[in-house]
């Protein structure tokens, strides 16, 4: 019997209700006459402290609070892909429809207390059974399939924890998510299975085993794939002050990465950024399959002006949906923009609960909450049969106040992630995008994914990658000297390092996310560009050792230098022989110089 109490106090998004004996911690409740969604975050005596996921304006002490008997959960089933949800999984387009029916002129606003189902109840899906009646089944076993979009086949799975004999299975045909599609006999009683299932958002979905991430998540962004690679099932953070390009980086990942399903959480960020994804993704094509990107994407929007408590929930809602598709055997990418806003939501609620603050007012459990979240990433063997593996890759943006990476959210996040793409205000000011600073960033997956590169692209990938890093690091040291004495006093070898580093920056690291050719580089193109630049460097270094000056080298190259810089946006992914040809012409020009030097 769910509890029923009354509001005694309201303070912003937090309310206190009394007469709540029997309420569970993290139970979802309905608050007030408008039945606003809330969640219990503390219980003291018969009082429950409730964070409310909608605006509390107009609530009064004395209004009723009703328990639902269940923790905050999401609905899982076909119909998730291509949808945009708010922080507690209400589809935003349906909210607009509902409001428009009563108040057409308020259609564009989100009013309170709108109740809409996350997954459409009336839509029929073509169900194909894949199990057989009489099979012994357990949690995670695939019993049927639904083509959810042209990109993703939805696996209908037995819910975790259930074990028994399949006594009935629907035949192939069209069903709604609420129709019974199978029956399982468990200990003498029959359990009905539907395509729709529920799962509490704060509890990770179980898996059979966790695996090592060994395959790179190709993103098409050169500095990421080549210098600081992400692995499928890995964790990463993108910290940066405002204007450094966090959102553009995350949009690029969502758009180009080799994941099969993308969950994009807009957590406390701009409304227009969600709109941009919503308008563009149906038109953009998935680079790996040519199908509209929206067919593999789920959006969760709790923009900065939407209720702050739902910001806290939105992260968990997103990661639970990601795990669900992982369990089907897909590689899922989850991007959260921005985890700082989520942490600030924690801080605001903690402040209202009058909890003892730790660093900068954040609650003391900030670190453990961050750890729990990032731990839900990973490459796994899913429960049940057939045997399949899937992954959840988590990339979170961090928005440090004043761009200061020592603040609590950035510093705690660094402990739980393995790829760090540090965005740099100085690079952004000179419009070097992506503004990923190669001195501050790192990836712990470089060695793990090297094998994939060696097998699929070139056996000398790691060697070239390390050499590029070395030149960039050496350049930074030299710049210190240049700042004191200028470039003229450097020896010719060092001048060449400066020249090559500039070529690497302009011709390889800088990448225009909005240029049709430059935005996405295949691994092959990345390697060919890198090889061209570094082979030039080796040859030039040889000449300098023979006594040539860097100025002579530049003269010998002539227009070829500019061609090398522009190759990234003038040569398409399928014209790699042109890069090879350019490399040969560069080397030939240098050989001619060598001949002249005698």
């Amino acid at each position: 019997m769910p509890v029923k109490g009354r509001i005694v106090r309201i303070s912003g998004p937090l309310i206190i209700a009394e007469n709540m004996q029997g309420a569970q911690m993290f139970e979802m409740v309905r608050v007030g006459e408008d039945k606003l969604i809330g969640e219990i975050t503390r219980i003291r005596g018969d009082k429950a402290y409730i964070q409310v996921y909608e605006s509390t304006t107009g609530l009064k002490p004395g209004e009723i609070v009703e328990g639902t008997g269940a923790p905050l959960s999401v609905e899982l089933g076909p119909g998730l892909l291509g949808t945009i949800y708010d922080g507690v999984q209400r589809p935003l387009p349906l909210i607009a429809e509902t409001i428009a029916r009563e108040m057409p002129h308020r259609r564009m606003f989100i009013e309170r207390g709108v109740q809409v189902p996350p997954i459409p109840r009336d839509r029929k899906w073509p169900f194909k059974p894949v199990a057989r009646i009489g099979d012994k089944v357990e949690g995670g076993d695939v019993i049927g399939e639904v083509e959810e979009t042209s990109l993703i086949t939805h696996k209908v799975m037995v819910p975790p924890g259930l074990k028994g004999e399949l006594v009935w299975l629907a035949t192939e045909g069209d069903y709604t998510v609420e129709d019974i599609i199978a029956q399982v006999r468990v200990d003498g009683r029959t359990v009905d299975l539907r395509m729709i299932q529920r799962w509490p958002v704060r509890i990770p979905r179980p898996v059979k085993a966790k695996l090592d991430p060994t395959e790179p998540l190709i993103t098409g962004t050169r500095i990421i794939d080549t210098l600081f690679p992400m692995a499928k099932g890995g964790t990463g953070a993108v910290p940066g002050g405002f204007g450094t390009g966090k959102t553009v980086t995350l949009h690029s990942l969502a758009q180009w990465s080799s994941a099969r399903v993308v969950v994009y959480i807009g957590c406390g960020e701009r409304g227009n950024e969600m709109t941009e994804v919503l308008e563009r993704f149906p038109e953009y094509k998935d680079p790996w399959s040519g199908k509209p990107l929206m067919e593999r994407t789920i959006l969760i929007a709790n923009t900065s002006n939407m209720p702050v408590a739902a910001r806290e929930a939105s992260i968990y809602v997103g990661v639970t949906l990601a795990e669900y598709y992982r369990d089907m055997g897909y590689d899922v990418l989850l991007v959260a923009d921005s985890t700082s806003r989520w942490a600030e939501a924690l801080r605001e609620i903690a402040g209202r609960l009058e909890e003892m603050p730790a660093e900068e007012g954040y609650p003391s459990y900030l670190a453990s909450r961050l750890a729990e979240f990032y731990e839900r990433a990973g490459r796994v063997t899913a429960l049940g049969s057939p045997e399949r593996s899937g992954s959840v890759t988590i990339v979170g943006a961090v928005s440090p106040p004043g761009g200061d990476f020592t603040e609590p959210v950035t510093s705690h996040t660094k402990r739980f992630i393995r790829v760090f793409w540090a965005l740099d205000t100085k690079l952004a000011y000179s419009r070097h995008y992506p503004a990923i600073n190669w001195l501050l960033s790192y990836s712990a997956y470089t060695d793990l994914v090297a094998e994939w590169w060696h097998k699929n692209v070139d056996t000398r990938w790691k060697e070239y990658r390390d050499e590029a890093m070395e030149i960039l690091l050496r350049e930074e040291e030299l710049q210190e000297i240049v700042r004191l004495v200028g470039t003229e006093s450097l020896d010719e070898k060092d001048k060449l390092i400066l020249d090559t580093a500039r070529l690497l920056k302009d011709g390889f690291l800088k990448q225009n996310a909005f240029d049709p050719i430059d935005a996405f580089s295949t691994p092959e193109k990345q390697f060919k560009l890198l090889k061209m630049i570094l082979d030039f460097h080796k040859k030039a270094l040889h000449l300098v050792e023979l006594g040539a000056t860097v100025a002579q080298v530049r003269d010998a190259l002539g227009r070829l230098y500019v061609e090398m810089v522009k190759a990234k946006f003038s040569i398409k992914n399928d014209e790699l022989e042109k890069i090879e040809d350019l490399r040969n012409r560069v080397l030939k020009a240098l050989e001619a110089l060598e001949a002249r030097l005698g």
């Binding site: 106090r9 309201i10 303070s11 912003g12 206190i16 605006s55 509390t56 304006t57 107009g58 609530l59 009064k60 002490p61 004395g62 935003l92 387009p93 909210i95 607009a96 002129h105 259609r107 564009m108 606003f109 989100i110 002050g241 405002f242 204007g243 807009g266 406390g268 701009r270 409304g271 227009n272 969600m274 709109t275 308008e279 923009t303 900065s304 002006n305 600030e344 605001e348 402040g351 900068e360 007012g361 928005s399 106040p401 761009g403 952004a428 000011y429 000179s430 419009r431 240049v482 700042r483 004495v485 200028g486 470039t487 003229e488 302009d506 225009n512 810089v565 522009k566 946006f569 003038s570």
Partner: protein, 466 residues
Amino acid sequence: MSVGVAGIREYSRITEIKGPLLIVEGVSNVSYDEIVEVELPSGEKRRGRVLDVARGVAVVQVFEGTTGITTTGTKVRFLGKPLEIPVSEDMLGRIFNGLGEPIDGGPKIIAEDERDVNGAPLNPAERSYPEDFIQTGVSAIDGMNTLVRGQKLPIFSGSGMPHNILAAQIARQATVRGEAEEFAVVFAAIGIKYDDYMFFRKFFEETGALNRVAMFVNLADEPAMVRLVTPRSALTLAEYLAYERDMHVLVILTDMTNYAEALREISAAREEVPGRQGYPGYLYSDLASIYERAGRVKGKKGSITQMPILTMPNDDITHPIPDLTGYITEGQIVLSRELHNKGIYPPINVLMSLSRLMKEGIGPGKTREDHAEVSNQLYAAYSRGVELRSLAAVVGEESLSEVDRKYLKFADLFERRFLSQGPRENRSIEQTLDIAWDILSTLPEDELVNIKEETIKKYHPNYRKM
């Protein structure tokens, strides 16, 4: 207690007064965020709103301050609704206080509707992405930090810098090409000085624009708590004009620093756990509830373009107010004291400035096909020039290479010819881009690595002459 008409309830048990807050006891049926009317023994009436409510107790924030309020004899009336202002097309051409009451001596507003000043969040699924280029006639903005209709683009300034002149220039010159229609302007003065207010007022009068401007005014010597409502009143009218009257509205909010300070004051009075520099932890969400009220929506002709102005304390861009603003708005226009001291107007530091929506507003059919590449090249070349300038200060200009010296000269040209213009000079986008090509052509052609070959062939002055 006495019950009046339409849910109005009156109480008089005030148990505590601190700062702008009243604690009223013995209340019932009070709702969160409800508006109240406080009547002093002298008969003076003030307004306030409920910040916290428990059974029998309400915390009320008084907009006009608590000076002179006594615990006995003061009546507090709870009005049973959140703060609302009347909205009507007739409000254009009029002047109001921060709570939306006329202060220009004109007739009472006949409201077409009453609206909650807090508004409601725009549904991201109902927004429509901003992409109409606004020509402001200012090269540094049009060429490199393009403004589009429905954007929120703040000006980060410092005390004594010409942000007012720039905002006025933009308000006067802003047009969408191919449309004759002018912007309606909603202007919110938040705690600014009288002379700043008079500057804008005179400016609107002189340009004959007064009849398409609505002003909401809270001056520096007026109650600080009203500053929390002033921008919301302005935006409530703007939303009505944009989404129900099909107008394109430009909202100028100045100065948001005063707003944030009023918020800190109320937070301190409530003894909340402070965040950075004493500002409340929810400063971000609170600012967002203002800035996010800009945009375009599906199926509606109108739009709201927001231009907040804020003065950075000590010119520090990492101060919480500009910092959090930059995280919410779609870019920023940063004014530089160094350029200002050099006598350059507008003193826009283009390297620190940014327009996030620029890419959608430019290009063929909107501005010109070379716009994006030229802008990238200007950024790259100017930032190299500025870098070399500081190097030259250490090692001397003569120890730079010939190409590097050309970059130095380019940086000077950029500031003097491209950036610099008169406060009444209105450049078309073509003029802006042509000036850009002129100064770029002082660099060797091989240095223009951000521009594609065919674009150079078409627009570079060397080829155009032929």
